[in-house]
Symmetry: C2
Subunit: 145 residues, 2 copies
């Protein structure tokens, strides 16, 4: 998770919302890492989790990431949680909750919806204060501009 | 929508689940089109809608598609509906409903969730039978293999 926070800091230094994500195999190897890139790439869907999933699929040459865990510094949104289900990722670990747009416990819990064909084991709250502080500082500075 | 069905047929001929999507400006210009590419590209998130959004953002050089409409031959899933909200697309027109994974009326309606910062105007049912038949035929043939 500390690595996710490093990625989030990189994002902030580039003017992106500070969110970092990485995907790790069951052997502990980091397969992919990413931070938000919406502003730099001008792509609405360029969230850390989705980019990390795409990079992991490309690296492994398969779309099923059923032996992987995803770490992310903020609770995934609807889009990213949906992408996690589609990639069959079994373990998701996130830091801070997102009461406005979070889809893993805040507004809904997509990763534990029995109507879908995949559910995840979720751990949350690790380094949540550090992650929240990064986000708060980022938006505070941005509002002043 | 007929163009979406053509794209869906192309997808089926390539072994992809037959779903096609396109994005059109308010002036009626087609900005991007796409079909599913999960099997060919080996990327879990390679759904028609998300690819069409990414292509439209790249073409227009901006992440806000607030002057665009998205047409798709199947009800968007959680991921794609989330992506539509993030891209601020105001109009979504889809053909067939997806009772198993649809997130625009079937399992949930993400495009009309007042807790999010964007809602869409949705029209559904146009060419739904043609789209359903394409999907049914595709899965019937695949099950026989």
């Amino acid at each position: 998770m500390e690595k996710c926070l490093e990625l989030a800091k990189q994002a902030a230094s580039l003017g992106e919302v500070p969110v970092g994500a990485l995907i790790v195999t069951s052997q502990g190897e980091i397969i992919s890492e990413a931070h938000n890139l919406r502003e730099i790439e001008n792509i609405a869907t360029a969230h850390a989790e989705l980019i990390a999933i795409e990079r992991a699929c490309k690296k492994l040459g398969r779309w099923r990431l059923s032996d992987c865990s995803l770490y992310v510094s903020l609770e995934p949104c609807f889009m990213c949680a949906g992408g996690i289900v589609l990639a069959r990722i079994p373990n998701v670990i996130f830091a801070a909750s997102d009461p406005k747009a979070g889809a893993v416990g805040s507004l809904i819990n997509i990763l534990n919806d029995k109507r879908l064909n995949h559910q995840c084991h979720v751990i949350s709250g690790i380094c949540s204060e550090e992650s929240s502080n990064l986000l708060k500082t980022f938006f505070k500075v941005r509002r002043k501009k």
